[in-house]
């Protein structure tokens, strides 16, 4: 993110923050939606995160702005989960996401893949979501999750290699894919 743009916002040009919201709303809401499986909740948390981001903008110290924003969102999400422990079911509902019609994918295959996604461990799933739903680079993922770049690369590679192996064997029941 442009250093000058941030500077502009810090010195009081509130409207310039609009550019930040527009740039990151789609990847951020996307990430939160896949993490919470609830699009409305995801949007609420994303809004809170943007406001937090605005309030703390002067604390941004360089590095990836996207990763910084995502870390704020992850903290907001953790906070939400903590406050809503008694209402944990909210986060365990089945995904309400509709795949766009333009995506042509055999129903069965899709179901199997979705099953596969569920079998991934939490961190790997987060990496997949950040990469595919939020379009983050390896560097941004590493900074967001506070893990080394090589770990991002290895987890993506290993998981995809396993997916490929089981696909080649025609065995997509997910058993082979569990970490």
């Amino acid at each position: 993110m442009n250093e000058q743009l941030i500077q502009k916002i810090i010195v009081g040009d509130q409207q310039a923050f609009r550019i930040i919201v527009d740039t990151y709303k789609q990847p951020l809401v996307g990430y939160l939606t896949y993490q919470t499986k609830n699009e409305e909740l995801a949007k609420d948390i994303a809004q809170e995160s943007f406001i937090k981001c605005y309030e703390n903008l002067s604390k941004f110290k360089g590095g990836s702005f996207k990763a910084w924003l995502f870390r704020i969102a992850i903290n907001q999400l953790i906070d939400f989960k903590r406050k809503n422990k008694e209402d944990a079911t909210l986060l365990e509902e089945t995904p309400s996401l509709d795949t766009p019609e333009s995506v042509i994918l055999a129903k069965e295959q899709k179901a199997v893949l979705q099953q596969w996604l569920k079998t991934l461990d939490d961190k790997t799933r987060q990496i997949f979501i950040l990469k595919y739903a939020s379009n983050c680079t390896y560097e941004e993922i590493a900074e967001t999750l506070n893990i080394p770049l090589t770990e991002v690369r290895n987890r993506l590679y290993r998981t995809k290699a396993r997916l490929r192996k089981s696909k080649l064997k025609g065995d997509m029941n997910g058993e082979l894919l569990i970490d």
Binding site: Q4, F17, Q26, G30, K59, Q76, I78, L113, Y132, Y138
Partner: protein, 454 residues
């Protein structure tokens, strides 16, 4: 000759992490590699399809913008210089003087997590304190962004017991937090830094620590120069308040504001332009910026590159002036000067056109320049005018007194300057109001003002 790619390399290639033309050519010409590439691309599509993009409406942006704290500009008066220090810090970081002999005791609390002072560095410009924690193995950051702001308190306490809040800039990793306190406005030779935490990571508790600071020796090597010189031209006031030349940094404090006459003039203009407008529309006429234009020149007369060429100072039309602490320049500690050439500021304009979309394309003239307004595909509206003579620097569009645009882009070619607005998706393409909000005005001093750096 390129060998066949491993699967790992192929993934890197697909992800765009390897950009190698010979590799690209090899994949295209090798049956094995192109088949592998195709196969992997197919799985990539499958995974992407599993995680389709989530559609976020344009109204989302407005909801966020509406919820932003309105008092931002007021807060800014107090906090602005901290942001500047955040950028200064990077260049000055290598020049820390390690200050030894300070107490480094551990502070424990009722919880199993304890905090200790890991490192203290102090220069003429700032203090950097690193705190380390032990006993916590979770994933949360020390200072959770979602904490209530007033739970954790950091302050400066003078020998007479007086307590001052102090600006800080915190950087953190999981088991460490580093605070940087700017000292430019702190004149006391001795004081204590007091940390009082009540909620860290996700734990409630009580952690208190005090760090005594003695900077008599550093202050003795630091020269304070009261500048108190004021320059006024064409309604803009630039006041040089103070310079501080220490063994490590040179810092300056400059205040810019509209002169009394100019502030009154701006107010009158706004009052006049908005006299017959409904209240909801008056918002389109607030917030004017001024920027000091200056260069930093080193001992050899070379102009140094700066990441932010203009230090922006917001001036609202309520005679709001703001002081700015200019960056530290360790690279010119052998001498040099600041050369302040002038200032750029923005004035309100009375350009306001009530239009319907049927009237487009539409053109009007302001101060001898023709402005053309036209509608582009995909709900976009473009305003173009001559690059050289364009006066208006910012625009605004409303429908029913609400902001009607989502994003805006600027581009310039040899002839024209273009501003393109993407309009909100859900607004009716019926009637709208176009405002030319501000025009830029440059004031150059007859001679650049030179301020020496020691």
């Amino acid at each position: 000759m390129v060998n066949c790619l491993s699967i790992e390399e192929m993934y890197d290639f697909i992800d765009g992490r390897i950009k190698d033309e010979t590799m690209n050519m090899h994949i295209q010409s090798c049956t094995n590699c192109s088949a592998l590439c195709e196969e992997l691309l197919e799985s990539e599509h499958l995974i992407s399809a599993l995680l389709p993009p989530v559609i976020v409406e344009a109204t989302f942006t407005n909801q966020v913008m509406d919820q932003l704290p309105k008092e931002k500009t007021v807060l800014q008066k107090k906090r602005d210089w901290r942001a500047v220090f955040a950028t200064v810090f990077v260049t000055a970081a290598l020049l820390f003087l390690i200050f030894s002999g300070l107490q480094k005791e551990s502070i424990t609390s009722s919880s199993s997590v304890s905090i200790s002072v890991k490192d203290i560095k102090i220069t003429d410009a700032f203090i950097k304190v690193t705190l380390a924690t032990s006993g916590y193995n979770g994933d949360e950051f020390f200072f959770n962004e979602s904490n209530e702001d007033n739970v954790n308190d950091v302050a400066l306490i003078l020998p007479n017991g007086e307590r001052h809040s102090i600006g800080s800039f915190a950087e953190q990793s999981t088991n460490e937090i580093t605070y940087v306190f700017p000292l430019f406005d702190v004149t006391y030779p001795e004081f204590k830094l007091v940390f009082d935490f009540k909620h860290i990571y996700d734990i409630d508790g009580q952690w208190s620590l005090e760090i005594p600071i003695d900077r008599k020796e550093l202050l003795a090597r630091t020269e304070n120069v009261a500048l108190n010189s004021s320059f006024e031209k064409d309604g803009i006031d630039v006041n040089f308040i103070r310079a501080q030349h220490g063994p490590y940094n040179s810092l300056f404090k400059i205040e810019t504001k509209f002169s009394e006459d100019m502030a009154s003039f701006v107010e009158q203009q706004v009052a006049q332009y908005t006299a017959n407008l409904p209240l909801a529309e008056k918002d389109a006429y607030v917030g004017y910026n001024a920027q000091i234009l200056y260069d930093v020149i080193n001992e050899d007369g070379k102009t140094l590159k700066r990441t932010i060429p203009e230090d922006t100072i917001s001036i609202q039309n309520d005679r709001y002036a703001l002081t700015e602490t200019l960056s530290a320049y360790p690279s010119v500690q052998d001498g040099g000067h600041l050369s302040v050439v002038g200032a750029k500021f923005e004035l309100p304009t009375n350009v306001r056109h009530e239009l319907t979309f049927d009237q487009l394309p539409y053109s009007f003239t302001y101060k001898d320049t023709v402005y053309e307004v036209k509608l582009l595909p995909d709900q976009r509206l473009e305003i173009s005018s001559d690059t050289k003579t364009t006066a208006i620097s910012s625009w605004h569009i409303t429908v029913d007194h609400k902001t009607a645009w989502d994003t805006s882009q600027f581009r310039t070619d040899k002839q024209k300057k273009y501003t393109t607005f993407t309009l909100e998706k859900d607004i009716p393409l019926d009637s709208f109001i176009l405002y030319g909000q501000t025009e830029a005005k440059f004031v150059y001093f007859d001679e650049a003002i030179q301020i020496d750096i020691h």
